[in-house]
């Protein structure tokens, strides 16, 4: 299994979690954070990151605004919304239940 595939389906969850914990972030920061925290185990593919971000934005879970970085460059920064937090809660629970269930199966099979 490639490292990229490992992320399949869980990217929105990670984005929401990161935004909840670390406040407003731009796309690049989100990608580097995920890679750094997972010790490069999870690699974020740009080709899927941005459509995912825009889909989340479309769903109303995150919202974006333009900000100036320290270097004066214009960057689009994302932040989690109230409905996004609710979504994160349920997604997180679901993820934990599933991984726990999968773990149990692997252990007891």
């Amino acid at each position: 299994m490639s490292r990229q595939d490992a992320l399949q389906g869980s990217l929105p969850l990670l984005v929401l979690k990161l935004l909840e914990r670390r406040g407003p972030l731009h796309g690049y920061a989100l990608a580097t954070h995920i890679e750094a925290i997972s010790d490069e185990e999870l690699r974020v593919e740009e080709g899927s990151l941005y459509p995912a971000l825009h889909r989340l934005e479309e769903a109303g879970w995150i919202k974006a605004r333009w900000m100036k970085t320290e270097t004066g460059r214009r960057a689009r920064v994302y932040d989690i919304t109230a409905t996004g937090r609710k979504q994160l809660d349920s997604e997180e629970t679901r993820w934990k239940t599933i991984t726990a269930a999968v773990g149990r199966v692997l252990k007891q099979a």
């Binding site: 080709g47 459509p51 479309e58 214009r74 689009r76």
Partner: protein
Amino acid sequence: MSWWSRLTNVFQSERLALDLDDEIQFHIEERIRERIASGMTREAAASEVARRFGNPLRLRETSRDVKLMPWLDSLVRDLNLGLRMLRKNAIVTIAAVVSLGFALGACVAAYSLVDALILRPLPVRDPDRLVYLAFTTFRPEQPEAETFNDPLFVSLRDASHDRVDLFAMSTQVMLPAIFESSGEKERVRTQYISGDAFDLLGVQGAIGRLIKPEDDVPATSIAVISHAFWISRFGGSPSAIGRRFTINNRAYQIAGVTDARFIGVEPGRPTSLWLPYASYNPRAFGNAQFNWFRILGRLKDDVRPEVAQSALQTVFTSFRRERQGLFDPGTSSTDRERLIHAPIYVRPAANGPSPLRHQFGRSLWILTVIAGLVLLIAGSNVGNLFLARAAAREREMALRLSIGAGRGRLIQQLLIESAIVAVAACALGLMFATVAAPSVVGMLTAPGDPVQLDLQMGWKLLGFAGGLALLTTLLFGITPALRASRLAPMTTLNTGGGRSLTRTGMFRPFVALQLAFGMVVLFVGGLLALSFARLSNVDPGFATSNVLLLDVETTRRIDGSQQRTAFFNLLDRLRLVPGVQDVAAAEYNPLGRAWTAFIRLPGKPNEAIETTMSPVSARFFETMRMPLVRGRTFEPKDMEANAAPSVVVNESFARRYFGEQMPVGRGFEGRFNMSNDTPTQYNIVGIVADARYDLRKPAAPTIFMPLRTSGTIHVRTAALPAALVTRLRAEISGTDSQFRVTSITTQSAVLDRTMLRERLLANLATFFAFVGLVLLAVGFYGVLSYSVVHRTREIGIRLALGAGPMRVIRTVVMDFGSVVLIGVLSGLAGGAYLSRFVEALLFDVQPQNLLSFALPLGTLLLMVLLAALLPALRAARVDPVIALRSE
């Protein structure tokens, strides 16, 4: 993301694309920087990042799609589907668009008139701070006056200058101006204003200078013209400045042109020429009886109108108390107190004080309401149309629902269909309004004093029409849409497209609405038509046909007695023109303004009686065909300056003041000349039958006295009056004549003009009532036909089981019986409510009258029956065998 930002995304897709690029570009730059920081060369880093990213264009497309495509796509698809659906029923669609468009156009036209005459503020600085003054007169025919005299104005202005800046603007008149360059008399709408008026209004000059406070001196000769007059009279040439002209033998010189947006303070009657009020008739100054101008004012900052009012009231009351001597001599002491304490009002003047609005404002609102009701009738038709359409597509809808289409999507699709109809109707309506509104303005116009309303078919109107169309769509498109989306797919699909009996019930709300609105329109239209009919049938008491009215003026300055002789000679000459039956003159035309004066009857020296005075020449009663009751009419000798003062009175006068005794040969005291302090003894030589000077009122007691200097020439002609005009004109301005014609009209035109408002209301309201009735009949016919077609099977069964055709008809029609009842009853209630606002405009018609209700009710029911006839017959002719086999 809200639908609004999506919508803006659609229109700003260029920006959206740039934003997406920028976001990705930022990412790429950061990545490259990181790689360089970890020791890579720039080139290596760039190529690695590029490889990693793949094709940025595709990335952009994907993201863009996420944001726009699903919605836009569905929109375009719905639009296409909607257009296809509408085209499939082209005739029905066209009918819907035309009826809706027409009603919408009528609304928009009415609104544009209301806007121009009533709503739109004057194009001046802070119009909301402008006020004008008015006061109670206690006279029923004119409860409020708005004109003031010079001494009162000065007192009011000086006493309130810390709260409001008052300025004077005379009532507008068409005055003959003679320009030095042409020497011809031109009628120009003129207004005299105080020097601070332009400044306080905040009007700017286009070129030259405007009238200023220093022009408030009698010697002034400055004049200011409007931009429109500058363009029309001088072609916009700067050489207009400095042009000289005279008005009433006084010389003026044009000093400036106002800015193009300002066309005076009176909507409908744009001013062409402004003169300093100091140049007005010198007798008007210091004279508390000469009321000739409006007082307008600009409230000081933070001063409320009530605060200004209290200061003005004090001055007004004490001014009247000091000048009690000017009250009518017969005024009782309680009336005297009442007059002294008459309230003065401070009225908002943001949209300008306008007699035209007084006359037509309410009528225009009523027409707007009626047009709105017709729009609702048309809208209900469209609503039913969409209901039927949605019902026919129930299967399709149910299928789409069952395979997972969102209900929101279905609603969206149906609403888009109605929006297409609305947009088309809106376009049609605007076209109609651009033609209709100016023609209504034409109807308001009296000859010689044209009404010009700035109708402004601009964005505001477009917005109004669009808003109205949108509202109508929502109102009548939402029910069918919601209904369709609430379908239960299983039942609908199982029952094979819904043969449900409740089907025809869905039309009921709109049918009831239509009948109610139709009833209101018919009721109000009926009242107005009846009122006009009654008014036109009033016998004015004189013959109005074949009478020409000519106003003349002297070509050069001659003194009073010379003019009088010349004028009577002219009358004699005109009498000899072939085709002329009789000629006379009167200072006031019957149906025109009248003059009142006080007289004292013998035996009642302390009682001053106010009567209407009408100075006329010999042969006046013969010319106007006013029958002589007793005594004699005027003869040429009565007109001589030194003749014994004789008068003719009308029957009302004789009856009121002399009762059964015949007053011929008796006399009374009168003081008809202001300069003359000793009263003159007048002898009554004849009595004529009553003639109305105002069609709406019974004849007032009137005294006809010998003509003083000159007046309007009344010519009775044998044939069509128009044929004689050239001949008479030539005779009047013949070689040795000292007169020329200033205006020619006919007595019947004057009669028509007095019924201007009634005619306008009656014509338009009847027209709307007719259109409403047709729309309603078409709609009801459609609904019934639909219901018969869809109940063919049921009808077939009924017939097969032995029901007679009458019974079947009853079943089909009675399905709507209760709806008709509810609609008509609520319509009557609505009409009764609305009639309170119409009542003030009615002549000799009581809304509570049985006839007022019966007429529209009968018409409506007849129309409903006619509309039901064909579908009912079709129901009765259903062949049970065919009906049952068709399943």
